[in-house]
Symmetry: C2
Subunit: 229 residues, 2 copies
DNA sequence: AACAAAACCTGACAAATATCATGTTTTCTT
DNA sequence: AAGAAAACATGATATTTGTCAGGTTTTGTT
């Protein structure tokens, strides 16, 4: 599928929207469409990125390996988001790995075009800057959550996050299904602890489950828990 | 003391170095020098910032209040760093409070000048972007540390950080003296836990203390601890 | 449909950390 | 230099969380 970036709705949600016509044409001509199956890696921590990845469809987990061999998921990147921007800007190997959580389709945009636009088009640079400022704020929030909230609160928060950001299907199940291990890696805890807490939520009627799929049955109770009541 | 920004060495270390002469003159004319005593707040979380704070001297702690009433220190801002940039860029109230750790001297630069330069001077915007990209990476690292390292490892790391970033005085004491409570708030733990661990380090000979002041006596042991040996 | 692999689950226990209570030392202020 | 306030310290205990070990269920593949 060779579509033109100029017509891509995805662009509306990321910094590429601040590009002008010529720039978009350049991107369009140079971009390479890539598909990744669930579980495949888009790129690995420490790799040099030759461009950025604009997500057309699907969700990827951005994670970092810790000294003890566990992955910490730092962010979930969804349709409209751009991955790898940070590394391209500072011209360093990326500090994060990206792995497809479900089937993912991205457009790879060579870094030269991005860098070139950043030098020439202040609006574009500013837009990138705004997105990064937003990510930084979110990262600050995560730091505070990690250090000040209990694992139980963080699991509850993660479930609400999944509902609020990815919605539910016709039956009420969270549209984005993560494995218990992935949830544990988002929350920063042991997989068993995560499973135990999810079981507890189920027992208390806050959620219902079917296999790995989850229905949020009592949003208020979960929210109260997050808030410390 | 009314010095000119054009001559300020501090500027060399932050994004203002990408400003051209006219821009610097504007900053110089509009800036207001402010001094804060140890413990005073420069600004509070949720406040609207009308400009940025360029640190001439001293150290401030940037922190965020958590639901349970504890402060989490997200970053220490030192000579040469600019505080409040993020909030000015996204035009939101700041998500962090800034409190002087020791006596602090800053130049307050009205946001109009910053915003104006960002629209006109791509080099400046790009420089700001680079700094923010760097901060974001550091934040990612903190997230991983918080979730994957033990409190003991994080305390050890914090002590080494203080040594590496602020150095030691003639007697070998860490130049930047933080209270045990502040260290606990950097590390994200209870003050008592922090004190206990510091006592343990002292008992084991990794550090020496005199009041709140600390000498790192065995850097290698501390580093090994951080690395999980 | 059968099988293997992966994911999920649970119990028992150990380790890490928080909390509460109380006393001591240091630092600051006058 | 004295007194008050803040910071530091430590014990006892409770809670949270991780680890190991062994199961069961679900999922994917042929």
């Amino acid at each position: 599928m060779e579509t033109r970036c100029e017509n891509c709705i995805v662009r509306k949600f990321n910094s590429l929207r601040a590009m002008n016509k010529e720039e978009l044409k350049q991107v369009s001509d140079a971009k390479i469409s890539k598909k990744f199956k669930k579980g495949e890696a888009l790129f690995e921590e420490g790799e040099k990125l030759n461009g950025v990845y604009c997500v057309r469809d699907g969700v990827s987990k951005l994670s970092k390996l810790s000294a003890n061999g566990k992955d910490q998921i730092v962010k979930l990147a969804t349709t409209g988001e751009v991955m790898g921007q940070r590394a391209v800007i500072v011209e360093e190997p990326t500090n994060l790995s990206a792995v497809a959580v479900n089937d993912v389709e991205v457009c790879f945009v060579p870094k030269e075009i991005i860098v070139d636009s950043m030098h020439k088009n202040p609006d574009f640079t500013l837009e990138v800057l705004r997105h990064m400022a937003h990510d930084l704020k979110e990262a600050d929030d995560v730091i505070v959550n990690m250090s000040q909230k209990t694992v139980k609160q963080r699991v509850a928060e993660a479930l609400l996050y999944l509902k609020n950001n990815y919605g539910v299907d016709e039956e009420g199940y969270l549209s984005l299904t993560l494995s218990r291990e992935d949830i544990a890696n988002v929350v920063g805890t042991a997989t068993e602890s995560c499973i135990r807490i999810i079981s507890e939520f189920k027992k208390k009627g806050y959620i219902k489950t079917s296999g790995k799929r989850i229905i949020i049955a009592n949003e208020k109770e979960l929210q109260d828990l997050v808030n410390g009541f």
